[in-house]
Amino acid sequence: MAEKSIIAENLTYRYGSVLAADHISFEVDAAEIIGFLGPNGAGKTTAVKMLTGQLRSQEGRAILLGFDVAKHTQAVRSRIGVCFEQTNLYEQMSALDNLALFAELFGVKDFDGYGLLKRVGLNGREKDKVAGYSKGMKQRLMVARSLVNRPEILFLDEPTAGLDPVSAEAIRNIILEERERGATVFLTTHDMWEADKLCNRVAFMSEGRIATLDTPSSLKQRYGKRSLLAQVAGSGGRVEQREINLDTPATPEAVGQLFKQERVITIHSEEATLEDIFIAITGRKLTE
């Protein structure tokens, strides 16, 4: 059995009367990418804050790399990296100085700032003030900062939100490289396509609870509807659409009838997206 990087047991947090995290429990294996998906206010960021020791869980506990976060906060923090949703860089300092500061705080010896900046595509701009960077460049620098200490667990809070496709793809590639290196990645995102592409497992968060947690393919099998979509020539030369559910006993006959009775122009299969499954499970949209 793989070693567990993260064990969350009944993590609970209330902001006044609002229950932001409601007895969240889950486990994450080493070198696994887990995605936490949910609309704003679902409790994703609160979960990250409790796991990284920014908030003390009011009930339950979080164990990272074998350490209880509440009791060994500093030991845990020295082995994790956190990339925040909102840009929080020292804008009057250069990218290199930003990274050097954090390397010093982590006590990283022989830190190669140039190498790290090259990895995130910021080579050539190392000594420029961050204030002059574009949003995509700042986000890549935020990711680079979270990698300064070669973390064993990487927390990424909406790392590609609002980025151009090139910057977003660069960050996704880094996430995959980190998993190859052996790091566990905890990713919160709104982007279902991204979660589907990157994550080994995804958790759907709604109203402070984990509604479900499984691999994307299992979720699609369990909750998704597979179908065939066909375009056929209708009367008067009009193109009409036919949909055949693939998960019923009548499917073979329906397919046969389609080809016998209609002139099929195009046909392709369609599977449910994580967004469809999220709505099916929680009754809410991700963008609510």
Partner: protein, 352 residues
């Protein structure tokens, strides 16, 4: 306490301070301005005796006085005109001789001589004038003559005006240099919270206490460095240098405590500026009392900066030593400790 972490944070804070042109500008311009003001102000007290005089009949001895060097006598036709001249600042002291003074003396009586003193003049000047009148009356008649005096202070009392203006400004300027750092420090902390960089720091192995210690060192360094430079340039260490240095160190600690408090209550940089201005004005009030002696009464003692200003004033201008200012320093240190601990606790809560 991890020295490596504090050193890294300090290096970052100094770099950010130097990178912020506004802070740098107000620091340098402020320092140059304060030093410039000091040297522009008069260095010496005017030693010439300036006396306003109302005397319907002028005794000859008084008339001779007007011709003497070092004395400037201005005569007025009415007692009210004399009083107005003193209130207007034309003279610091005035004497009104009654119309029949010579006759009263001749009859062996005791005329009443009115002495009017401007509030800016020290009380001793009134006594000196009474003594002078006695001397003049002796010179006039060859015998000591009796008279009664009535003394009236015109305007607010201003004890200590005999100290040159720029020396009276010295404590105010030094304390102002310290106090301005309340705002600089609070702004640096507030920006760190507002821009979220504090959150980024606090997911590293460092603790909130590291961050606050680094800010405290920076605050004390900035405040103390400037105050010491100012005092060194204006001769503030010529009396009791160790006492003065200790006072400035404790004052800098007070500044850091107040700065922490300010940063903990202000939501953003604008709020720091607003609250900081109010705080600055309040803390500067005791300093104004050193320029205008007698302006402040005992109520000023409830303002903690009173003990800083008063100590700097007494050490710099009157050569006060440890024993003279020990009580002040103890109160100041006590307040600094309370402000520092309270500010730390408030900020820790906010960082959490």
């Amino acid at each position: 306490m991890n020295i490596r972490i504090i050193r890294a944070l300090l290096k970052k804070d100094v770099a950010l301070f130097l990178a912020n042109r506004f802070y740098l500008l107000i620091t340098v311009v402020g320092l140059v301005f304060y030093i410039g003001i000091y040297f522009i102000l008069p260095a010496q007290v005017d030693e010439k005796l300036k006396l306003g005089l109302y005397a319907p009949v002028l005794p000859s001895a008084f008339a001779q006085l007007t011709a003497q060097q070092g004395a400037e006598i201005g005569r007025y036709d009415t007692e009210d005109a004399l009083k107005k001249a003193i209130l207007d600042g034309d003279y610091q002291i005035g004497v009104a001789l009654p119309a029949g003074i010579m006759d009263v003396w001749a009859a062996g009586g005791r005329p009443r001589i009115a002495v009017y003193r401007a509030s800016a003049a020290p009380p001793e000047l009134g006594d000196a004038i009474v003594a002078l009148v006695k001397e003049l009356s002796y010179a006039q008649t060859g015998q000591a003559l009796n008279f009664d005096t009535s003394a009236e202070v015109l305007g607010p009392d201003m004890l200590g005006a005999q100290v040159a203006l720029r020396d009276r400004m010295k404590p105010l300027l030094a304390v102002f240099i310290l106090l301005v750092e309340v705002m600089s420090l609070a702004s640096l902390i507030s920006v760190e919270i507002e821009q979220g960089t504090a959150r980024a720091l606090l997911v590293t192995p460092m603790r909130a206490s590291h961050l606050l210690v680094a800010k405290g060192i920076l605050g004390v360094g900035l405040a103390l460095g400037q105050a010491v430079l100012f005092m060194a340039l204006v001769g503030g260490f010529s009396h009791q240098p160790l006492t003065m240095l200790t006072t400035l160190i404790i004052g800098s600690a007070m500044v850091v405590g107040v700065g922490f408090f300010l940063a903990s209550v202000a939501r953003d940089v604008m709020a720091v500026t607003s609250w900081g201005t109010v705080t600055l004005v309040l803390l500067a009030i005791p300093g104004i009392g050193t320029i205008i002696p007698g302006l402040l009464s005992d109520w000023a003692r409830v303002i903690p900066s009173y003990y800083l200003t008063d100590t700097v004033n007494r050490v710099a201008n009157y050569g006060a030593g440890w024993s003279d200012v020990a009580a002040n320093l103890a109160i100041l240190a006590g307040f600094s400790a309370v402000a520092g601990a309270g500010g730390l606790a408030a900020l820790r809560r906010r960082y959490r």
